[in-house]
């Protein structure tokens, strides 16, 4: 099996972090560091959604619930409770996990399309709540007044470079953790459930419980994406809980591919780049983006990373081909062509 080991993953993450840390010094541009921070927010969010879509087979339309919840609860915790950043992070993750537990327990037992709609309903419920509860959330104007950033462990998130490093570091840390979860026995149980829930049940697996666990984990990580976003904009906006956030994340994972772990991150890079480039070139952003989406969805019909991975796999599979033995009651041939 060509699975990676945790050690190798950590090493790669460290190298990438070092490279990202050096980047602003080689290419000092506000645009670049902003890009990386936004990538961190969406990379974490999209990858967490793919845990549901790609690995567990749960097509959620309402994952934005956790993005919005993460942004608002973190910002509110810092503004109202005056806690330290690590504490606010912990509270946010716990709150999101709890909400995911309740929402998931209700949604996960439903069939695909109804599951999708109910998750959307819950997300829009949160959105409506945010808009209506003006005294707490600032209503449709959003949460203003900035996010207090007391120093912790020597990190001052009011300094741009520190925020940059923190975001990049959080992205890599979350990716490592999610990667580990997805490569654990639990992760493979999710794949079993995705491929054939009935057979999984006949193997003694409690499908509902496993799906709920996946939903909670995905929700917790999704909220961290919202946290990065709230630090980036110094507040929180109702848009963070609007259905378009879910739509963008779905677009990212479809664009990048659902079968490779880093597909969603690749998709996030592509979509963010597309956003930036297209808005610079033309004011008809929707037209261009829409055409590109159609090109992908109708032409390629799968994510870019998936497409490339398939090409690679087909090439290596040809070398592993095994000829079928011919005679009845004979031993299968031990010859392999190639490898």
């Amino acid at each position: 099996m060509r699975t990676s080991s945790m050690r190798r993953d950590c090493l790669i993450a460290l190298i990438v972090f070092a490279a990202l840390a050096a980047l602003p010094m080689l290419w000092p541009s506000r645009g670049v560091s902003d890009f990386v921070i936004r990538l961190a927010a969406f990379g974490i969010f999209a990858t967490s959604l793919n845990m549901l879509v790609g690995y567990a087979g749960l097509e959620s339309f309402g994952h934005g619930l956790f993005f919005g919840l993460g942004a608002y609860s973190f910002a509110l915790a810092m503004q109202r409770l005056g806690t330290s950043i690590p504490t606010a992070l912990l509270l946010t993750v716990l709150l999101s996990a709890a909400v995911a537990g309740i929402v998931g327990a209700i949604c996960v037992r439903l069939k695909e399309i109804y599951f999708a709609f109910l998750t959307l309903a819950f997300q829009m419920l949160l959105h409506s709540l945010i808009i209506a509860w003006t005294p707490l959330t600032g209503g449709d104007q959003g949460l203003t007044g900035g996010v207090p950033r007391p120093a912790f462990l020597g990190i001052r998130l009011d300094a741009p470079y520190h925020l940059y490093l923190f975001s990049a570091g959080l992205l890599l840390l979350c990716l490592l953790l999610m990667r580990h979860i997805v490569q654990s026995p639990f992760g493979y149980t999710l794949r079993l459930i995705r491929d054939n829930p009935a057979r999984a049940t006949s193997l003694g697996i409690n499908v509902w419980a496993m799906r709920l666990a996946a939903f909670v984990i995905a929700g917790a990580f999704g909220s961290l994406g919202g946290v990065v976003m709230s630090l980036f904009v110094s507040g929180a906006f109702p848009d963070f809980a609007y259905w378009t956030i879910s739509g963008e994340a779905i677009f990212m994972i479809m664009l990048g591919g659902t079968t490779l772990f880093l597909g969603p991150v690749a998709g996030a890079v592509m979509l963010l780049l597309l956003n930036d480039v297209v808005t610079k070139l033309t004011e008809h952003y929707g037209l261009v983006l829409g055409l590109i989406i159609l090109l992908f969805a109708l032409g390629l019909r799968k994510g870019l990373a998936d497409y490339l991975a398939e090409l690679w796999r087909e090439r290596s599979a040809r070398r592993l081909a095994v000829p079928l033995p011919a005679a009845p009651f004979a031993e299968p041939s031990n010859k392999l062509s190639g490898e």
């Binding site: 879509v53 097509e59 339309f61 209700i106 439903l110 069939k111 695909e112 399309i113 109804y114 999708a116 709609f117 109910l118 309903a121 819950f122 829009m124 419920l125 959105h127 409506s128 709540l129 808009i131 209506a132 003006t134 209503g139 259905w243 739509g247 779905i250 677009f251 479809m254 008809h284 952003y285 929707g286 037209l287 983006l289 829409g290 055409l291 590109i292 989406i293 159609l294 992908f296 969805a297 109708l298 019909r301």
Partner: protein, 299 residues
Amino acid sequence: MDLPALANCVTSLSCIVTQSTSGLIIGMLLFLVAAGVSLIFGVLKVINFAHGSFYMLGAYLVLTVYGLSDSFLLAVIAAALGVAVFGLLFERLIISRVYGSQVLMQLLVCYGVILILDDLVKIIWGPEFKSLGMPAAFQKPPYLLGGGVVPVYYLFLILLTLLIAVALGLAITRTRLGKIVRAVAINPGMVSALGINTGYVYAGVFMLGGLLAGLAGALAAPVRSIVSGMGLSVVVESFIVTVIGGMGSVAGALVGSLLIGLVRSFGTIGFPLFTEGLMFLLMAVVLVLKPSGLFGREG
């Protein structure tokens, strides 16, 4: 939250009449859109997220044709037919390629089309809000019913859509074509094996959906503002309606639409900021208690 205002309203006949009528037209227009969504899902098993764009196109088309011809009747017919043709093209060129794909892929395709249309509409007609104004035929003083105000156009709208709802229901249950459509919904392979071209049925259902949505957009034009992106809230509400009423059921779409229409009109009084939330709450409750909807079949 403004419960006293709500309580006042339900105890006043005039308020009940005014709000109910307003709720009814919201509901009836929504029905035209939701019926299309529901049929398309029931027969093609496709969630047409772009249905709101059909509605939007209908509104813009009626604007143009009315401006050219000064005849509201002509404009409405032209708009409805125009969107029907668009629905056909949409099905043949785009949606038919993602039959059987993941739901998320269908969502993505529709999202792309929505983005394109929203921008196209801005390019062709301009980004500002437009309005049709009340056509001359309906510029009459409103009826007074129990002290409540009922504009003439509202009455016309309600009666017309009711007629269409009945016609649609009869067409599906009583005619041979309706039977074929229902059969395709249940077992397309079998129908195809019997020599009926299911491709035509699929295209036809999309055309019908387009026709109804375009009609809704055209009829809504005198009483709603026309702007890019106006399809969004309509399609979201029509999905709530199809969930509540049951996918594939026209009767369910009618009941669901009326329910949502009334919740909206009375809800804006009692819960001005949370009206959207109310509808989603309703959908959530239905999904938990009876996921297949009030009139839907299990599975």
